[in-house]
Symmetry: C2
Subunit: 772 residues, 2 copies
């Protein structure tokens, strides 16, 4: 993979600071070091990373980011336009035009949504459509170049060359802050496009509503039926300077109320409503004049958004907010001080850490009110409410990472999940929590993994009994995605449900997680039940062929079956070769079942070295060549534990080889630095863990599998005040093998690290070597 | 007009009670007299009365009423279907089928909307469309007959003959209570139709949302874009008996989220959402088994609706709620104890009083929370929030009537209007307040009249200064409906605005109202400004032809002009002959301007006796032959003061003649007992006043014009504890002339009564005579 470096990120000076010895590093304090300089928000903005380069605060509700020349979800023939998948976060690095700046963007998800409240500054004749709608027509988009573009945590800037406008963006948790430097113009405009969605198609809007409260304050909301089908976002938008006039265009077919006929609704009429509308605000500007906008969001109401706005940014000092958000980012990033061999690795590492702190996002107003899954307004009591839980992805490494560097937030996230469950009419924990909606994306009930992992690691003060109850209720919803059949048949029958093997494997793992919770809370019967269910993976293993294989309701294995194909073979986004190794709760048993350590080790070797033919993966958006090593798919989640499985075959050196290879080839500091969707931080969390030398192969246990660290040195500042040092002695690019690992001077036997080894602080020393 | 009597209203026994002398009447106390027996909710349910016969509490948020075989707003050719106008309240007496029972209905309005949450019990094969959608197909409607139908205040019942189901309905302020007596059936259903709107057309729905919380509780909401274009109503629906299964059908074109594919969303999946859907709940019933439903509404949230439900009806005793609501109605109705010459007059009178207590409706949850015009949630502080202010209609007599019999509510209504103004992005008092929306229906800013009338009469404790400010702000919104031109030109130029004369006349009157407020609060400059504006009516009078006449911006009168035509002649729903007499604030001046008392009196004589050709009124929905006397249109509002204008011409006997004639011919106790839209109670309030012998010709003054009472005797129980007796001595059908009027034994000079004469209590005696 190419890792070309973005010209706009000038790191040389900063990196010089860090070319220091271990002893010197120890003396560096948070105040002295600006880790935000090592973050390149453009990493992964090319192709399938699905991340955005815009401005956001850590875990912030606002993600204010440029939207580049978009494509329509369906082409003119009504066919699905595959290109749209690249635009999950609204931005593609290869593009040359920007249509505006939206306030919500998902980071790295495998499905597109959001893009709320596209704001675009323009000059000249007013144009209200982003793209030309007729031959010879104009769109309000602007050309731009990466030379005039810059991004760092909490800050984004670009020159909108078509208008000679400099755009700068920053954000607090709930407020986006725009600063537009205009040329002299007697017809400058700020367009507020309420039609635009990611993907762009009109049908996503349910309703939009705008009130021009006075000559510099606008409020409103939008309801969309995208991924979250009853999703509402409210806003308040304050201008630093009164607009001279304003108006809107409505793109709806019907007139709602004939009594509006008597007004010229389109100009200077302060109340706008409809399914699809675009508003504009007109200014006169002097050369170099800055027009600023504070744009707050709320899940509750426009009044809530306005309160958020006034609470978080009670001034017009753009640089002050930018600096405060930089400091907020530095607080998060400085939790791990990492020394790497190269500048590029450092950028890759801190960008991964940055990506791992983008979501889940805070989902409540400054006063603690939030919209629940039941669409009622709730107040968070004793926690901060979060949403955007892409759990099929993030339970693997992101939430385990939070248990080390963000335990307080992870506790809040678990409480948010429990609130979701309490509000769920299904009585289910979130599968994919999406702005007071459940979007049901992917499979399993992996909130149970997040909860079990926190419970077993002693993280948080959430109610364990309540968490177990919520998990058991979740695991008992018979109409959920083959779950009733799973309970009845002890596997998901392939003739009753698609992705039957994947579901069986993940349910079994989730059930093991529930059993762990039950064990910890002394619920013996529940533990027994779910331990029993956790072994159902055995029922989809076909010893005759040595693969997990779809089984039918009659107990026979499906006849036509291709273990290499990722399409319709009982797996979702994977095949029997890779997804079939998913038994994190019973790895030794799985290996024995699959023929023992040697055979399993050979399977892994083949997996990493075989040539997978295109036909097996084509038409699969989440599996692309960029993210594949042999038949191992790092660009997608189900195999993320696989490189570490060599540890269980007596060949840990192969794990060490593979994880270093993956870190080198699948990640980078450039725009193509992500080999697949970052998936709300999971891909990045994998990197952060692996770079530190260990990985949570089995969330829900307190164990980590040892790998091969990439860092030379790292200091993890824990919330409990303790510090963990990780030292890789003799670390070089070639010395990727680990001769020994010692904890506080005592050599660690085996290939595992315990959670307590980390949170009790101390020093872990990896002795690196060139040979296994 | 025919006044045929409904068989289902059996009054004979009740009326016997009231065939008593004055002295006996005085002894009757509230507890002893059931005035609800004199109310016939079917009055006006035929043709254009636009009232509903269903169950509601006084001023209640729930109006639970049958919807009869509906028509589509547009016919198959896409043309507007005129018949739909008859269905403003969802019911037409001539119909023979019922499609279900909706929880919101407007009473008597001149535009249709609402019809939320149509509930229909059925048996047999499940049918989800109300009407057959294909040849040979079935709809879920039922035939019914009036023989098996019954209605009284707070109660409605009907046999659904197609299913052998007896339906009974009652309601509290916020909760509808259904009681369905089923036959034996193993496939009984309750259909919850979220598609149905009044008028019926799919496009009115914006979004619907349903949660099946458990086997007997359903919650949700609907947003519509009908008359109120951003209108949301939330509900909670509790069944007395768990349903066995449930499901829904969605009528939407697009799938919102492909992840729903894995579920069978249509059956027993507890979360339903989409633009158009119909849900159903299945039961097994025994012969004669009652299935009851409590269905609560909320403007705030489903949680609010559920709280309303549990607060207002914490039991399943249908008869108890029915009786409590009957008592609530009796408390309102017994505020006026009226003796009439005939049984029919008594029913007409109490039904009018009933219709006058249907709206405005309470628009807040039991805990005081409500949705404001800004779509934010507010809490009423020191008042009860109301909506449905059809002010162009109701300022005339309904709110003045409230100032006598409902001063506390009217004070709350004014505070609701002030809250509306505070939340209005236009900074305007309501024109037509419609469920947290402004629907802008009709002209003027008549909230100022309601406020001035209360202020001058000393009603309520609202902030007078604040009310004046709100009124002045309202009267200053230049983009409102020609108002800027009115301010600039001192009339509304006809070449700039339709209905220019009507607007000029009403603005001038409204401005006079504001001047009264200013006078009372000592704001001399404001008083002067608005007194000056109140004379602008003079600018649209053309002395050359003796009529109010459209004037152009250049100051000349419009050339082509027909004083008789109601179409496009500068008047809305009227012509120069009738609407042109609208100067209630300066009647003497107007009469002088129009040639003096004699000439004006002759104009009135002509007005009542001329033959208006059909061509002048055809295509005007609000002016029908049923409501016309000559060229006087009682079926619509702008002329309601006209019969009383004879008082100012020295010919009060002609007022007496006319008002008795109008009461006799334009009102009745049967289904055709309303000669036009009741207009949210205005038509009925006219009757109540006139029947008592006086009328508020100029709201905003403390004066009432004396007419000719219809009652023999009436006792008004005032909220201040005082009592006003009205005695019509020698009252007969023939003795319609008033020889003299005395107040507490002292003869009243002139033709006016003062508000204090009423609220200080005492006795007014009309000496009736056969000759003028």
């Amino acid at each position: 993979m190419k890792n070309f470096f973005i010209a706009t990120i000038i790191l040389a000076g900063a990196l010089a600071l860090f070319s220091c010895s271990e002893n010197e590093t120890e003396k560096v304090t948070e105040a002295e070091t600006d880790f935000t300089r090592f973050v390149n928000p453009f990493v992964g903005t090319s192709k399938m990373g699905h991340v955005y380069p815009g401005a956001t605060a850590p875990f912030g509700m606002v993600q204010l980011s440029p939207q580049t020349n978009f494509v329509k979800m369906f082409d003119e023939n009504g066919d699905y336009n595959k290109e749209t998948y690249e635009y999950c976060a609204g931005y593609q690095y290869r593009d040359s035009t920007i249509i505006g700046f939206s306030h919500t963007n998902l980071s790295g998800t495998g499905h597109s949504d959001l893009g709320d409240f596209l704001v675009m500054p323009t000059t000249g004749s007013l144009v209200l459509d982003p793209l030309p709608v007729s031959a010879g027509g104009k769109g309000f988009y602007s050309v731009f170049s990466h030379e005039k573009e810059e991004a760092s945590p909490g800050f984004y800037k670009v020159d909108l060359d078509s208008y000679n406008i400099k755009a700068e963006l920053t954000a607090t948790e709930r407020v986006g802050f725009h600063q537009y430097t205009f040329p002299e113009s007697d017809s400058a405009h700020i367009v507020l496009d309420m039609v635009y969605n990611i993907y762009y198609h009109n049908n996503k809007n349910v309703w939009t509503f705008i009130r021009v409260e006075n000559d510099s304050l606008v409020t409103g909301y939008r309801q969309t039926k995208g991924w979250g089908r009853t999703r509402k976002v409210f806003f308040a938008m304050k201008f630093s300077k009164p607009f001279e006039s304003y108006g809107h265009k409505k793109y709806d077919e019907i007139i709602y109320n004939r009594f509006y006929d008597r007004f010229n609704e389109t100009e200077n009429f302060p109340e706008m409503a409809g399914k699809n509308l675009r508003a504009y605000f007109n200014f006169k500007t002097k050369e170099g004049e800055k027009v600023k906008i504070k744009f707050a969001l709320s899940p509750v109401s426009a009044a809530g958004a306005l309160k958020n706005l006034d609470t978080e940014i009670p001034h017009w000092d753009f640089d002050k907010t930018r600096e405060e958000t930089r400091l907020a980012w530095n607080r998060e990033l400085s939790k791990i001080e990492a020394e790497t061999l190269t500048n590029e690795q450092k950028v890759t590492f801190y960008t991964a850490l940055y990506h791992a702190c983008l979501s889940p996002i805070v989902y409540e107003d400054a006063d603690g009110q939030y919209r629940g899954l039941d669409q009622n307004i709730h107040t968070s009591d004793g926690f901060v409410n979060y949403t955007v839980f892409s759990l099929w992805d993030t339970y693997r490494a992101l939430h385990p990472l939070f248990n080390i560097i963000q335990p307080r937030r992870n506790n809040d996230m678990i409480k948010s999940m429990l609130a979701h469950q309490a509000q769920s009419v299904h009585h289910m924990l979130p599968v994919w929590s999406h702005y007071a909606n459940e979007n049901w994306c992917m499979i399993g009930y992996h909130a149970t993994s997040v909860i079990a992992d926190a419970m077993v690691k002693g993280v948080g003060d959430f109610d364990h009994k309540r968490a177990l109850d919520a998990s058991v209720q979740t695991a008992s919803v018979r109409y959920f995605d083959g779950l009733g059949d799973y309970i009845d048949f002890h596997f998901v029958p392939d003739d009753k449900s698609h992705s039957s093997v994947s579901k069986t494997l993940e349910y079994a793992y989730n059930d093991w997680c529930i059993a762990q919770m039950a064990g910890l809370t002394g619920e013996k019967e529940v533990e027994k039940t779910f331990l029993s269910r956790s072994k159902y993976y055995e029922n989809v293993y076909d010893p005759a062929i040595g693969f997990m294989r779809p089984k039918l309701a009659d107990g026979t294995f499906r006849k036509d079956f291709s273990p290499l194909d990722t399409h319709g073979q009982g797996f979702i986004e994977g095949n029997a070769w890779n997804y079939g190794l998913y038994v994190p709760q019973n790895i030794d048993t799985m290996i024995a079942m699959m023929g023992g350590k040697e055979q399993f080790s050979r399977h892994l070797d083949s997996l990493f070295t075989m040539q997978l033919e295109d036909k097996y993966i084509e038409k699969n958006e989440d599996i692309t060549r960029d993210g594949i090593i042999g038949n191992y798919v790092h660009g997608n989640e189900p195999g993320h534990h696989i490189p570490y499985l060599y540890n269980w075959t007596g060949k840990p050196y192969k794990t060490q080889e593979r994880v270093r290879m993956i870190m080198d080839s699948m990640y980078g500091a450039g725009v193509e630095g992500l080999c697949g969707n970052d998936d709300a931080g999971q891909m990045s969390a994998w990197y952060v863990f692996s770079a530190l030398g260990f990985y949570p192969v089995t969330p829900g246990s307190a164990e980590y599998a040892l790998g091969s660290p990439l860092v030379k040195h790292a200091t993890i500042h824990l919330e409990n005040g303790k510090t963990l040092e990780i030292v890789a002695r003799n670390q070089t690019a070639e010395n990727k093998y680990v001769k020994s690992v010692s904890l506080n001077g005592k050599v660690i036997e085996g290939n595992n690290l315990q959670h307590n080894d980390i949170v009790n602080g101390g020093t872990i020393v990896f002795e690196m070597a060139e040979q296994p």
